[in-house]
């Protein structure tokens, strides 16, 4: 590039310093190994699309590394870093839902249909997945963060950007609704089993 020839230091000074990542490769590999399964689980079960979860997980980590704040979060420890990662993923999911587009059956990966799960896992999927599908996306996020990840109301507020006071009420409503749906699903599954 011409400007590099004219100003040889333009890309070796501040620009290169700014390009330094907040974690070295080994530290990131460890953090990734510990946090990726739970992040993928969150994205896959809340979105209901494993392929989308793969994409969003990669983008979440890229944004996490490229963000200007990770050093602050890393200083607070890995728990804070994970919370920040979930916040990025939550925002990406929200962005995805804001751009509605028609999904074709051909877009769903084949392994999604494969019957590889154990019977207990299949039961859990048979009961929870239809109930989750009937919930609003925001409620799915709140329920997963509270009951699967075990985050407190304050932490959920930090991740979702909602007020702590409203989390309590939203979560209460969402929990009551999904509990009703789960009981209905449970009854249906039990009835199907009893049928010859």
């Amino acid at each position: 590039m011409l400007w590099e020839a004219i100003f040889p230091n333009v890309l070796t000074g501040d620009a290169t310093r700014a390009a330094e990542l907040p974690m070295d490769s080994d530290a990131f590999a460890g953090f990734y190994e510990r946090s990726a399964p739970s992040l993928w689980a969150y994205l896959a079960r809340v979105s209901g699309d494993p392929a989308l979860a793969d994409d969003l997980m990669q983008e979440s980590y890229l944004r996490f590394l490229c963000a200007s704040q990770p050093k602050l979060f890393l200083a607070d420890g890995e728990v804070a870093a994970r919370r920040y990662l979930f916040r990025i993923a939550t925002n990406l999911l929200r962005d995805h839902w804001r751009r509605p587009r028609a999904a074709s059956i051909e877009d769903v990966p084949e392994e999604f249909f494969a019957a590889s799960a154990s019977s207990a896992q299949a039961d859990s999927r048979a009961i929870l997945s239809p109930a989750l599908a009937l919930m609003r996306p925001k409620d799915r996020q709140l329920l997963w963060l509270a009951h699967a990840e075990g985050y407190s109301h304050r932490e959920i507020a930090e991740i979702t950007g909602l007020a702590t006071a409203s989390i309590r009420l939203l979560l209460f409503r969402a929990r009551r609704k999904i509990a009703r749906l789960l009981r209905e699903q449970n009854c249906q599954v039990s009835a199907q089993r009893r049928e010859p």
Binding site: Y32, P37, W40, R45, L65, L143, E149, F172, L182, R183
Partner: protein, 172 residues
């Protein structure tokens, strides 16, 4: 919907988080949970989500953290280069704006004083045969014009052209 949270919800949540439900639950709390709709909802929902999480985590495909780290580094470097190039782009836009302003001023000036230096073009077809002297804009000198105005105009046009070509080539 009436918001009626149970005062023992935190106790139940802690029990679930520690994995003490149902084996290590006190009989008194167990009887409370059976009678309390909020606590029984909490148990039902938390156990369903914990089971779903365990299943999803076990099926999660772990990609390569190293590849992601390199991609992030590349993205961050590109962003830094773009940031460094922003003032240069600003300078280019400023130069283009100044040049366009100069051209506009020149055209306005010419419109006010009449484009009489163009009259040499009209003489061109009438001169038979064509001599190189004819190509020389004699009207330029006869109408009071001089090179002092023509040269800056040509220089401005050249500069504008140069900037335009540079911008187009850089975009490509």
């Amino acid at each position: 919907m009436i918001f009626s949270a149970c005062s023992r919800e935190n106790e139940v949540a802690e029990l679930l988080a520690r994995g003490h439900w149902p084996q290590a639950c006190a009989p008194e709390l167990r009887s409370h949970i059976e009678a309390c709709p909020a606590c029984s909802d909490l148990i039902l929902v938390t156990r369903a989500f914990q089971s779903a999480r365990a299943e999803a985590v076990s099926t999660a495909k772990g990609g390569s953290g190293g590849a992601l780290w390199w991609r992030a580094q590349l993205r961050r470097r590109n962003a830094a280069v773009e940031r460094a190039g922003r003032p240069i782009l600003g300078a280019q836009v400023f130069a283009l704006a100044v040049n366009l302003l100069l051209v506009a001023v020149f055209l306005v000036y010419q419109a006010r004083h009449g484009f009489n230096w163009l009259s040499w073009l009209e003489q061109l077809p009438q001169s038979q045969p064509i001599h190189f002297e004819v190509l020389w804009p004699s009207a330029l000198f006869t109408s009071g014009w001089s090179f002092t105005l023509l040269i800056p105009v040509l220089a401005t046009l050249a500069l504008v052209g140069g900037v335009a070509v540079y911008l187009v080539s850089e975009n490509q």
